[in-house]
């Protein structure tokens, strides 16, 4: 390995810190904030050791919830905090690391921004090395803040440090994985897709592994890096040796990525380029066809993500029922939920909230496609042809409206099929699970409406729609724990979605949500017709 291959790394580190001076602090601060809020909420709600014990034993014996949120390492404030906050903290840390790494390696090459840098005294390995160094720093900061926050809260030292360190380790793991992914293809989008697919795979392996502790598939958690984070067991055993797994895989992945980056041409991937058709297809081609052509792959990616999740939930619901049959002692727990079917219904209802958030994230991303088309000036070609603004923006809205329905079906159908098949009651389970999923559609449209209204009126601030989704999720997750007043909870459209399986279908909230979404979209379309482009 030659030193000159790393030339310029220091300058690139400064460039990354400068470019990401706003985003970096935000995602570094989010996990510690969330973890501390959750710890505070548990301390307030379950002040006594006895109450913590009762909650933990209920959770531990509930395989569905263990699968979704992970196992509870200990029946203490620390253990409960780790259980409840891990999934969000892991998602943010993994996402932050992976997206930042890809942004400063493959995206720069794809857009040609790297040409200017690469012509300077910058080694082939420098961009990747610089990104990884910045991510290492960011992850250490996350670990210190999480551990420090929990320590300040009065939690044990070893557990606080172990939890902070496990988040940092998973972050670094995803940074190095993203480093490899961005060497493989020419497109940053595909690199993000690869990392996303691995995240889902790791999550599912861990979920199934953790849920089947008794049935002998727990080894699945050991092949999933997300599973490792839980196997550290902060506030319980603190198995420090698990960090050796992280360390080894980070070293291997980093080395692979660095070697790949110094062997290939700048701008090209490891896999060769695929040629496209010389002509457009003969189907009628308007702006709608274009929007569909541009977004179909992304839509299928979101849909398959939710399909995997649906199959997993269906399978988990089924295995929970099996567990009940095998272990009559668990009957108490199921009685607490109101019987077997009530238990699975509660599990499904709980998982639907995630589906709603994922669907809303899809809808916002697909709506804001309008903005990237505009800032990249690609819209000029379309609007300079005989296409009205209404038709162009409307095409995207049509894709969003239908796409979000497809995304929900992609969850509800496999979930219903898997569970219906195993429960032997397809005719009953499939339709009601599908309906219970689809009721999220109007709430998702409201988020698309917020994005459209912002884009139409103040395009510079359309990213605020992501903030709105974050706020709604925060209100739901933290609001519930902190017992925030109902009027605050009500700002979230998700709060108005009827829990069909638990309390039945009610049309009024769905109709009013649809009207709100429609009004927001119309406001956005009107605003868009009256402003300058670009």
């Amino acid at each position: 390995m030659n030193r000159h291959e790393f030339a310029g790394t220091r300058a690139l580190i400064r460039l990354i810190l400068r470019r990401d001076r706003l985003v970096l602090p935000i995602w570094i601060a989010l996990p510690p904030l969330f973890v501390i809020l959750v710890a505070a909420a548990f301390a307030q709600l379950y002040p006594t050791a006895a109450s913590q014990q009762i909650l933990a034993s209920q959770l531990v014996n509930s395989p569905g919830f263990v699968a979704l949120l992970g196992p509870v390492p200990a029946a203490t404030i620390g253990g409960l905090t780790v259980w409840r906050s891990s999934i969000f903290a892991v998602l943010i840390v993994a996402g932050g690391n992976a997206l930042t790494t890809i942004r400063h390696t493959r995206s720069d090459e794809e857009t040609g921004r790297f040409e200017l840098l690469g012509s300077g005294a910058v080694g082939r390995r420098a961009p990747l090395a610089a990104s990884l160094v910045v991510m290492l720093g960011a992850d250490i900061l996350v670990a210190v803040l999480v551990a420090g926050g929990l320590l300040a809260f009065g939690l044990p030292f070893a557990g606080s440090v172990a939890f902070g360190a496990s988040l940092a380790a998973i972050g670094l793991m995803f940074a190095s994985l993203a480093g490899v992914a961005s060497q493989l293809t020419e497109s940053a989008g595909i690199a993000r897709g690869i990392v996303g697919a691995f995240f889902v795979l790791f999550y599912v392996l861990r979920a199934i592994g953790d849920a089947s502790e008794t049935s002998g598939q727990s080894w699945l958690s050991w092949i999933s890096p997300i599973g490792w984070a839980y196997l550290v067991q902060p506030f319980a055993k603190e198995r420090w040796e698990v960090f050796a797994l992280f360390l080894a895989s980070v070293i291997v992945l980093t080395e692979v990525a660095l070697v790949l980056s110094s062997r290939r041409d700048v701008g090209s991937g490891t896999f060769p380029l695929r040629l496209g058709p010389a002509r457009a297809s003969h189907r009628p081609g308007g702006p709608l066809a274009l929007m569909w052509r541009l977004q179909r792959r992304t839509l299928f990616a979101w849909a398959s993500l939710l399909a995997v999740y649906g199959i997993m939930i269906g399978y988990l619901a089924k295995s929970s029922v099996d567990l009940l049959a095998a272990n009559p002692q668990l009957a108490n727990l199921f009685a607490f939920f109101g019987g077997t079917s009530a238990y699975t219904d509660a599990l499904f209802t709980f998982s639907f909230t995630f589906v709603g958030w994922i669907g809303a994230a899809y809808a916002i991303a697909a709506t804001l496609r309008l903005q990237s088309e505009e800032t990249e000036k690609r819209v000029d070609h379309v609007l300079a042809a005989s296409v009205s603004r209404l038709r162009w923006a409307g095409s995207d809205i049509a894709v969003v409206i239908i796409g979000s329905a497809l995304v929900l079906v992609a969850f509800g159908l496999p979930a219903g099929l898997t569970y219906g098949l195993s429960a032997g009651n397809m005719a009953y389970e499939l339709p009601r699970l599908l309906v219970a999923t689809m009721v999220y559609l109007p709430a998702i449209w409201v988020l698309a409406g917020i994005a459209m209204a912002l884009y139409g009126l103040v395009p510079r601030f359309s990213f605020v729609s992501w903030g709105a989704l974050g706020a709604f999720i925060g209100v739901e997750v933290i609001g519930e724990l902190l017992k925030v007043s109902q009027s605050v909870l009500n700002i979230s459209p998700f709060k108005h979605v009827p829990a069909v399986l638990v309390s039945g279908l009610s049309a009024t909230p769905l109709i009013s949500l649809t009207f709100v979404a429609l009004a927001l979209i119309v406001v956005g379309l009107i605003g868009f017709q009256h402003r300058s482009i670009g």
């Binding site: 794809e110 020419e186 497109s187 989008g189 380029l273 695929r274 040629l275 496209g276 058709p277 010389a278 002509r279 457009a280 081609g285 308007g286 702006p287 274009l290 052509r293 541009l294 792959r297 990249e376 000036k377 690609r378 000029d380 070609h381 379309v382 609007l383 300079a384 042809a385 005989s386 296409v387 009205s388 603004r389 038709r391 009256h530 402003r531 300058s532 482009i533 670009g534």
Partner: protein, 299 residues
Amino acid sequence: MSVIQINNLTKYYGKQLALDNVDLTVEQGEVYGFIGPNGAGKTTTLRILLGLLRKNSGQVSVLGRDPWRDAVALHRRLAYVPGDVSLWPNLSGGEVIDLLGRLRGDFDQSRRNELVERFKFDPTKPCRTYSTGNRQKVALIAAFVSDVELFVLDEPTLGLDPLMEEVFRGCVAEVRQAGKTVLLSSHILAEVEALCDRISIINEGMIVESGTLAELQHLTRISVTVETAQPVTALSELPGVHDVRVDGVRLHFSVDAGAINRAMEHLTRFDVQALTCTPPTLEDLFLRHYELQTGDSMR
């Protein structure tokens, strides 16, 4: 009736003045050059003509209609080539050409094939792999396949090689032959001189000069570098000759377009060994323009 009619057009970006009382008239069937340095307001003007930007004040009409209100109907009758062509990275060049052609109405397949051939363009690659010149070809082919009345071209040869520039000029000549109107923005004076009937010069958001090339001849001076066997005398006394400077055996001077003949006659008497003539650059033109202006004000 004029194809493009702009009166007192003013445009602000926030508080910054981008266009200041711009007037421009383009007649049916002419190739009109719109020149100015970077950031002068060329693209802003063109984007207002396409209804992509809102004007702050003034009157704008394209093919007799309001480009903001009647954008869609108008765009069926015009084709646009942006200066900085940005394409969808995962679509192939051929797909984009077909797409843009269809969005404007239908187009002739044989014409498309002919243009792909003439521009030596490979339509199968994904757009993300195209160089600037190749992206430009996508936009040019998509524009020239359409049977429209008006072509709005914003620095269309940026990134094209000289051979392709020739092909482009051929395309412009063809559409002009067919009686169509072309508005060509550029900062390359030679290109505008070769193609355009009339030109307007814009600088800092203001039209500083308009007219036919002949009318603007007083602005153009040619720079000459000459080597002679015998030392040249009395050159600077000739009318229309300026800035005479001796550099060893070489002699540099500039000459008004109308005075070239006399200057050449004078030089041949000293046995010319080598001669280079450079057409005025846009920069020269501006310098000259401001020289005239300050001269006027001093008088």
